[in-house]
């Protein structure tokens, strides 16, 4: 499904700010894998997702999605295969455009845009139904500007947009981190439902260890641009937060010093 092999990425090469973000990274995902990704700040989690999405070019290695080599494919072309939700709720939507216009653009992901009407009447009904299931009352505000929505509402909408056309792979980068605990829980629940329903393959970065253990069928831990721990199936179900902390210290030889993770 997804195959990352020997991928490396160094930012600001040859300057004082040189930073190796990914170091000979390897990862293989099977169809319908739902993988949670954890790791300290700067471990390379976002970079891994950005490399898969083609936000920046990779320095070495190959990335295949569904056996298509996408290593050199520009971001907008890869978008056909990918659904993405970002940490920043502002990143996934166009604030000055209507809710339904945002959905209509997402609905056309991977299709050629032409001079036909940007949104049809029939689509609007589909969007009405889709918004209803979010349970946020957005279905009655379809022609409101997205800029008027709260972060949580925008994030739920982005999630809906990312999965309106079934993506081959769903990339979630701490998509609940900016939300209050209740909204975060709701968006996470929604994520779970949608992934299950559409039988999606997904990569979800999170700082919440409990979520990382509970959700999905596989968990990977990253450190300094590498995967240092990879666990799935029953073994993953039995994990405790303390196990993860221990693993981290063992693999990295450092104390785990991330308040956000310890608190959760």
């Amino acid at each position: 499904m997804l195959e990352i092999s020997h991928v490396s990425k160094t930012f600001n090469k040859g300057t004082v700010n040189e930073k190796k973000a990914l170091d000979d990274l390897n990862l293989k995902l099977k169809e319908e894998d739902f993988v949670t990704v954890i790791g300290g700040n700067g471990a390379g989690k976002s970079t891994m997702l950005n490399m898969v999405a083609g936000v920046y070019p990779i320095d070495a290695g190959t990335i295949r999605i569904d056996s298509t080599d996408v290593s050199l494919m520009p971001e907008y072309k890869r978008a056909r295969l990918l659904g993405r939700v970002f940490q920043d709720p502002m990143m996934g939507t166009a604030a000055d455009m209507e809710i339904q216009e945002n959905l209509a653009m997402a609905y056309r992901r991977g299709k050629n845009r032409g001079l036909s009407w940007g949104i049809t009447k029939k689509e609007k009904e589909t969007y009405h139904e889709a918004l209803k299931r979010l349970g946020l009352g957005l279905e009655d505000r379809m022609s409101s500007k997205v800029g008027l929505l709260s972060g949580g509402q925008r994030q739920a909408l982005t999630l809906l947009m990312a999965t309106l056309q079934r993506p081959k792979l769903l990339l979630l980068d701490e998509h609940t981190a900016a939300l209050d605990p209740r909204t975060a829980k709701k968006v996470l629940e929604l994520t779970r439902e949608i992934v299950e329903e559409q039988k999606l393959t997904a990569l979800m970065v999170t700082h919440n260890m409990k979520d990382a253990i509970q959700i999905g069928n596989r968990l990977i831990m990253m450190h300094e641009g590498r995967i240092i721990y990879d666990v799935s199936g029953e073994e993953k179900q039995k994990l405790q937060v303390s196990d993860l902390l221990e693993k981290f210290e063992e693999a990295s030889g450092e104390e785990f010093s991330n308040d956000r993770m310890l608190l959760s």
């Binding site: 978008a79 990143m91 939507t93 166009a94 845009r113």
Partner: protein, 315 residues
């Protein structure tokens, strides 16, 4: 009577220049790019239209040539900005400067009179028997109406939506599978095509094209957009917004006509326009700051009272 005539002339000029303001709006507000190609592409429209007509081309066909040339100049800025990754402002300035020489080459001199030629306005005057000011006014109004209708339609289409979204959130547009280099390019081409069309219409209406006719056009365009926003507000439906820009352009011309009648020297006009735009842009910022300070002070007073009242209750 003099002032009435001056105002009528101003209105008809305002409508023709309003098309240029619509073009500026495409980049400045829709794409959220400050495109400085404007001064060059406006003069390009005028120059190429005059040159074509001098060669014997039909005045209406010459408009089409001007539109195509304007789109091409937008494409040059687009190429410099998207492919060569030159910051948009600089890319626009480069094209604008280059166009100065190009326009001189096109005309072969710095000024081309059209007085002896059959302009579209002269044709329409002969056909309708109306005065020159009325013909310019009506022609300009018809052009504006058709263009606003066409733009309204275009920005409702799939491609048009993607261009609007690019000005909002490029990152999202790419993640939804649209090449933002293409949307930016299209926006710049569309904007400069409108600007060149306006230049061509203005040159036919004033009876000559001049290589310097575009100087300061960007500021006039901005002034029109801002006057429209001040009068109608910023939260408008798209069609109304486009209309407000043309109205803004007309009002700008009326202001100019009035101050000239009051004895202002034409040489000082550009300074006046620059001041007008600077003031109009800074007023909202000042107001917001004042509002913020005022509401902070009000909250201080409010807290003060509460504290006192709390104190009494405690005693």
């Amino acid at each position: 009577m003099g002032i009435l005539l001056a105002v009528q002339g101003a209105v008809s000029q305002g409508v023709l220049w309003g098309i240029m303001a619509l073009g500026v709006y495409m980049t400045y507000r829709v794409l959220n790019i400050a495109d400085l190609t404007v001064d060059g592409s406006f003069a390009l429209g005028g120059s190429i239209c005059a040159a074509m007509m001098t060669l014997g081309m039909n005045p209406w066909l010459s408009l089409l040539v001007a539109i195509a040339a304007g789109a091409l100049s937008g494409a040059v800025t687009g190429f410099l900005h998207t492919k060569c990754e030159i910051p948009a402002i600089l890319a626009g300035i480069l094209t604008q400067i280059g166009l100065y020489s190009v326009n001189l080459r096109i005309m072969g001199r710095s000024n081309t009179p059209l007085l002896k030629l059959d302009t579209m306005f002269k044709q329409l005057m002969a056909a309708t028997g109306l005065s020159s000011a009325w013909v310019s006014l009506i022609t300009g109004a018809v052009f504006c109406a058709v263009l606003i209708g066409a733009l309204y339609w275009f920005f409702g289409t799939e491609i048009g939506s993607a261009i609007r979204a690019t000005g909002n959130n490029e990152n999202m547009v790419r993640s939804l599978g649209m090449n933002t280099n293409v949307t930016k390019m299209l926006g710049l081409m569309l904007g400069n095509a409108l600007i060149a069309l306006s230049g061509a219409l203005v040159s036919q209406s004033q009876g000559y094209a001049d290589v310097k006719m575009g100087t300061g056009a960007i500021v006039i365009g901005l002034a029109s957009i801002i006057i429209g926003e001040v009068l109608f507000g910023r939260k408008l439906a798209f069609g109304t917004k486009l209309f407000s820009i043309v109205v803004g352009s007309v009002i700008y011309r009326i202001i100019v006509a009035v101050v000239l009648q009051l004895g202002l020297n034409t040489d000082d006009l550009k300074l006046l326009t620059a001041i007008l735009v600077a003031v109009a842009l800074s007023i909202p910022v000042m107001l917001e700051k004042r509002r913020q300070t005022a509401s902070y002070k009000a909250s201080l007073n409010g807290n003060h009272k509460e504290e006192q009242e709390g104190g009494h209750a405690g005693n």
